[in-house]
């Protein structure tokens, strides 16, 4: 009589219950409900009884896609993200090249890293209003500096120009995120086998060559990870554009999330349209996050699984052969 093996499998289920319940209540149900609202006539401040649309079930989606504001906000979101991402990645790569170069050991790296990451930890809401104050007209630090150093004769009202609004929002995003991207890339470079660099050095590769032909290919995955996470974050841009200029001037910094917020919570109470707009964004984000999921898949585990399957197949074949 062997000792009876107790199965602990049920504890796996029991310990997952809190997560599953909380997820179902606070994420899954709201998503399902959002989907439902997108097909209803729900609008108005105190209205909580949605009715499914009878004449045209896709009316809300059609309306959203037809409004010029949504199209504009979608374009703005991409434009601002690209304007922030390219210089951000460029600078992060440059700093990574400098900081990981063992031929020119930079002193004070710890201090630089801590300082460059600092903007990322500060409340975005505060940052937005801070920059709004900095670019203030007629009194603000930027105007003060420009006048003091004789770049301009009189105070400029920067924030009424559309291009300025977008550029500054992109700059704020850049300012908040380049340190994060830099630290991410540096940690990737540190993970590279140092013997590769020694070999490159032996072969007489200079700094630039080493970085372009050895370092960058080795951190491909992390570069893609940064790209996709930044893109998903960029598509959700909200705090800065809302509080910096409230989407203005003339909707120049209206991002899709600000658009959704304004449709639903800021006077209009068009919950159905806002829901439709958020679902359109959700679809786009799902596409990109599945890309990220695919990039981050566990390659070793996948290999092991394949090998195991192969082993089982072979064993079966053998068994058949014997039979």
């Amino acid at each position: 009589m062997g000792k009876k093996r107790i199965s602990y499998a049920k504890w796996g289920y029991i310990f997952s219950i809190p997560f599953v319940v909380a997820f179902a209540l606070f994420t899954l149900y709201p998503i399902v409900y959002t989907v439902f609202i997108a097909f209803t006539d729900l609008k108005g401040a105190a209205n909580t009884t949605p009715h499914l649309l009878k004449d045209d079930i896709l009316k809300n989606f059609k309306e959203v896609l037809a409004t010029s504001q949504f199209k504009q906000s979608f374009g703005n979101t991409w434009k601002i993200w690209i304007m922030n991402f390219i210089p951000q990645m460029g600078l992060a790569l440059l700093l990574t090249a400098w900081f990981t170069d063992n031929r020119s050991k930079i002193k004070g790296q710890g201090l630089f890293k801590v300082a460059f990451y600092m903007p990322n930890i500060i409340t975005a809401a505060t940052v937005a209003i801070m920059f709004n104050a900095f670019f203030g007209y007629p009194i603000g630090p930027v105007n003060d500096l420009l006048i003091r150093f004789h770049f301009v004769d009189s105070a400029q009202n920067f924030l009424i120009k559309k291009a300025n609004g977008q550029n500054i929002v992109a700059f704020i995003q850049f300012w908040m995120w380049f340190g994060y991207t830099m630290i991410t890339l540096i940690s990737g470079v540190i993970g590279i086998d140092p013997s590769i660099f020694e070999a490159a050095e032996m072969d007489g590769a200079n700094r630039v060559q080493t970085f372009i032909y050895v370092t960058i290919p080795s951190i491909r995955t992390i570069l893609l990870f940064s790209l996709v996470t930044s893109l998903i974050g960029g598509l959700n841009m909200f705090d800065i554009p809302l509080l910096f200029l409230n989407g203005g001037p003339d909707n120049a910094t209206l991002t899709t999330n600000v658009f959704i917020y304004k449709q639903a919570f800021s006077g209009a109470y068009l919950y159905n349209r806002a829901a439709a707009a958020s679902l359109i964004m959700l679809c786009i984000i799902v596409v990109f996050s599945s890309l990220l999921f695919w990039l981050m898949r566990d390659r070793d585990a996948e290999k092991a699984k394949k090998l195991r399957k192969q082993a089982i197949k072979e064993a079966k074949l053998k068994a058949k052969g014997v039979a």
Partner: protein, 293 residues
């Protein structure tokens, strides 16, 4: 002969190693400019918080603090912007949310690591799949749900959702897979400990380093969150810090330049203190997240 060979080999790398002074100077100048770009705004907030509106009107940039801090502080009296209330609310919400997120994410990660169960791989795949769904896209349904249940002005709706934090479960699982040996769990079982006790007393202490890192990021994320508190909280005495900050844009402060800077500075002060105390761990945590990801 052997000696000659080694010197020959060493030569090219020795030349490469010699530092080019112009190149090094450029690097340091760029780094110092960036350093100032990152730190100066906060110094400017602090300095202007102590200056009078008249001083700021003559020159908005100054590096030397003045003595109008108290005057600027008085501007807030009797107004909606209340740092103490915002601080208290944010502290309660962020602390509770972080505690729940860290504990239950560890528990879920433990369920995914220590036990063999049928739906495990599917469940983990699901968590990976929903990891990147941002809160904003569910906001309409979430708001309507809270509104129907009369829970809009309730901090619980900002705290309880953190029980399910997919991203954190993912990181905790990565950590557990590397550091949990199943023998420890088994020996606890032999000693007659039940599974729940084993998790609380044996597994949680092993997870302390991961919990600390995740707690910092969870706390900061919760503290900085603007969207959900802004749509849910309409009562002033319940508002969190970022929602309070948004009040500073109101017309009543239009000419109170010093007060605006003071308000902004007060909202970043707790974060700056946390950051200065924990910056080493935070920077290391960012790097760790990237490598693991």
């Amino acid at each position: 002969m052997a000696e000659v060979a080694t010197t020959k080999l060493k030569k090219p790398s020795a030349i490469n190693k010699r530092k080019n002074p112009i190149y090094m100077t450029v690097i340091y100048i760029v780094c110092i400019i960036l350093l100032l770009l990152c730190l100066m705004p906060f110094w400017l907030l602090l300095v202007n918080a102590t200056r009078s509106s008249v001083e700021i009107q003559t020159h908005a940039v100054s590096l030397i603090p003045s003595k109008y801090l108290q005057n600027n502080w008085k501007v807030f009296q009797g107004k909606d912007f209340n740092v103490a209330v915002g601080f208290k609310n944010s502290l309660i919400i962020s602390t509770c949310a972080t505690a729940l997120a860290v504990y239950f994410s560890s528990l879920t990660a433990y369920a995914l690591t220590a036990y063999e169960w049928k739906l495990r791989d599917g469940f983990f795949g699901f968590i990976m799949g929903v990891m990147m769904i941002p809160g904003q896209v569910t906001s309409i349904g979430f708001y309507q749900m809270c509104y129907k249940l009369h829970l809009t002005n309730n901090h619980l709706m900002l705290i309880l959702p953190s029980i399910a934090a997919p991203m954190m479960v993912f990181f905790m699982r990565q950590y557990l897979q590397a550091s949990l040996s199943i023998e420890i769990v088994e020996s606890a079982r032999v000693d007659g400990a039940n599974e729940f006790f084993t998790f609380n007393r044996i597994v949680l202490p092993i997870m302390k380093p991961a919990m600390a890192t995740q707690a910092i990021f969870s706390f900061v994320g919760s503290w900085n969150n603007l969207f959900t508190p802004m749509i849910l909280l309409t009562k002033n005495e319940l508002k969190t810090m970022p929602v309070m900050v948004s009040l500073l844009k109101g017309d009543i402060y239009r000419t109170e330049y010093g007060a605006i800077y003071l308000g902004l500075f007060l909202t970043v002060l707790p974060l700056i203190i946390i950051y200065l105390l924990l910056s080493r761990y935070i920077v290391a945590g960012v790097a760790l997240g990237a490598v693991k990801g």
